[in-house]
Symmetry: C3
Subunit: 166 residues, 3 copies
């Protein structure tokens, strides 16, 4: 590695290896929809839940059954699922030119105000994998409930380049 | 069934006829916004509510005043409204090349976990009209309330082709 | 004022002046994300909160600690922040060719049904600044909670033209 070997130059796939992250199996749809879809240069993903091996890793709401640490890990888990879906769809995460939009939806009760730190469970992972210069816009909402009683869901749009231009 | 007459080849407008579906009048805005808008190849729709003849077909929340069956029909009703808006905007549903993103928002109280089946009220309709190969990504959220106390809202992005390329 | 000096022809920047609106400082991120990002002709903004000088102007929920008038002003305040972010990112609001999508998220408790009027706090401002012919699609949701206990958040996509084509 001569010259251009700094943090910014390593590929997303290389960074995953460096971080020791093994992506889980991509989640499968719970209904009549697909997990990912490309239109133009945008890759839209379905709502990603904290699922491991097709089972909920967490059930419950933040501020009641679960605390902020569990919420942060649930968000991180859902973000890993998003990377798995993108890798399966694109063949390689290196086709992702940036994370465009991250929606973070947290099932909350009462006065749960620690939303930004919980949401960073996904944003920090994406920073580590894609680099800070590809950071997304983000919206965080506390919602009443999520599918199957899970505490978090993520909605993500990636910008991708055409396979031939790699 | 000769040649190209299979399920995949029938147009969306033809399928609507075959299914005996008559689209309702397109809903009208409740404020300073429009019901549909095209940018590039994407057609964005406003939040679609379960409205028939400009009146709420359902009022209440899932898990309290309404059960999952009512929720599923409310979602179906809102999806019909979306098709009506798209048809009015585009002239023909055959200009839709696929459903990109379906957001399903359900006003819920307590432990209402049957969200995927309720959301399929829209996804199944779109499958029947556009074909399974045009299935969207989907995000489902349980929310605290929706405009005018209605139980469901849908937010949809369609991919469309230019009128001249039909 | 000769010829094309009617309402439709004034620029967004000129209208801001005419309306006597001084944009606040653009908000800064609460976590690992950016406030705005352009992909193709679309400018995505992060969730905009009712923040003035980096402090929450309102805390509480609609239908409980805050009424519809406060909600409408909170929405207006968040929309001003969105204009500040867009102006900082683009250099000039005149690069905005239309408002594409406006998501309005209101922290609500109980039976708060006055959502469309509250949401018009943003839509009416955008109409005054960009003109009614650039009105967006809109989705309004009542949610359980928002970051730092604030009552409203806006999620906005603008359509923009390239800087060189001004």
């Amino acid at each position: 590695m001569v010259g251009h070997s700094g943090l910014q130059q390593r590929s997303a796939q290389q960074r995953l290896l460096d971080l020791g992250i093994h992506l889980p199996a991509a989640p499968t749809p719970l209904g009549t929809y697909v997990e990912a879809l490309q239109t133009g240069n945008l890759l839209f993903l379905s709502g990603m839940l904290p699922v491991v091996d097709h089972k909920a890793k967490y059930v419950g709401r933040l501020g009641k059954e679960l605390d902020a640490e569990a919420g942060r890990d649930a968000v991180y888990t859902a973000a890993l699922g998003a990377l798995a879906v993108a890798q399966e769809f694109l063949g390689s995460l290196d086709r992702i030119t940036r994370v465009v939009r991250l929606g973070v939806f947290l099932a909350t009760v009462g006065d749960f105000f620690d939303q930004p730190r919980v949401a960073d469970g996904a944003s920090d992972l994406f920073r580590d994998v894609f680099g800070i210069e590809k950071a997304s816009v983000r919206t965080v909402l506390g919602v009443a409930s999520l599918p199957l009683g899970m505490p978090v869901a993520l909605e993500i749009i990636f910008e991708v380049k055409a396979a031939e231009s790699l």
